[in-house]
């Protein structure tokens, strides 16, 4: 369980969520993205291809990160949500707030 951060050739910070994104670790994700923002990064992709489940705190962390990134003129996208994970965004109507791609490759293609 943890977050793996890589930087794509086109300058997108890709964060892969391994395991859960929940109340116990969402601060770690927020710290990671905020540090990158402070370092001048503006493009983010959070990939959930290896994620088990997300709780409402995890969803909330994504909402506030996305807000902050946008305020600084950047963009945060999501990818790799399986059917179950995607249903959480649909139920909470957060699918209207995020650009969601099926795979990280698709998300990066037109970033």
């Amino acid at each position: 369980m943890g977050f793996e951060e890589t930087k794509d050739s086109s300058g997108v910070v890709v964060v892969r969520v391994d395991g859960q994104l929940i109340v116990g670790n969402r601060q770690e994700l927020k710290d990671l993205v905020n540090r990158a923002l402070d370092a001048g990064e503006r493009k983010f992709l959070i990939d959930f291809g290896r994620t088990g489940y997300i709780d409402s705190s995890g969803l909330g962390a994504l909402v506030s990160l996305s807000k902050r990134v946008r305020e600084l003129g950047g963009e945060l996208r999501l990818s790799g949500l399986n059917e179950d994970l995607r249903s959480l965004f649909e139920l909470t109507k957060l699918d209207t707030l995020f650009a969601i791609a099926d795979t990280p490759e698709q998300a990066l293609a037109n970033f």
């Binding site: 369980m1 859960q20 489940y53 969803l59 909402v63 179950d84 139920l91 909470t92 957060l94």
Partner: protein, 155 residues
């Protein structure tokens, strides 16, 4: 990552005399958000033993229990290390009940606003109970409001 102790105790029917009785699974958890993931995984494992092909059920159970535990730890017990969260699961032929009980004052769930209203959409919290209601088949609270019962149908 905190590794505070969890207490898990699986009780099964002892009364051979009477008809088959349900399995009850009991777990006591400290008021520590760092324990939630482990507790969810224990509860899911013990609730779904012997149930094949239940991925969707497992997912719904995991998220609902994670939410209820987070509320119990943070909202109910206010992360007071002297207070416990009690989890109890009852395994029935066609459904599972999971109870999550905290040692807080309780609340009135009818007063919680809908998080999908446009003005709530950008909030970073307030989606927990909503998700629970959407993911499980039935939600009941005790009258004090410090104990939630979530029912999931096996089919």
């Amino acid at each position: 990552m905190t590794t505070a102790p969890l207490q898990l105790c699986v009780r099964r029917s002892q009364s051979a005399a009477s008809a088959a009785l349900a399995t009850q699974v009991t777990l006591r958890m400290p008021s520590d958000v760092g324990c939630i993931e482990q507790a969810v995984s224990l509860v899911a494992r013990h609730c779904l033993t012997g149930t094949a092909g239940c991925d969707r059920l497992r997912f719904r159970l995991q998220v609902a229990v994670a939410e209820a535990l987070a509320n119990a730890v943070i909202r109910g017990n206010r992360e007071d290390p002297r207070k416990w969260v009690y989890v109890e699961a009852e395994l029935l032929p066609d459904r599972i009940h999971v109870y999550v009980t905290d040692e807080g004052d309780g609340f009135d769930p009818a007063q919680v606003p809908e998080p999908v209203l446009p003005e709530q959409l950008f909030e970073s919290c307030g989606r927990g109970l909503f998700l629970i209601r959407k993911l499980v088949d039935e939600v009941r609270f005790n009258e004090q409001g410090n104990s939630i019962c979530m029912t999931l149908s096996r089919q």
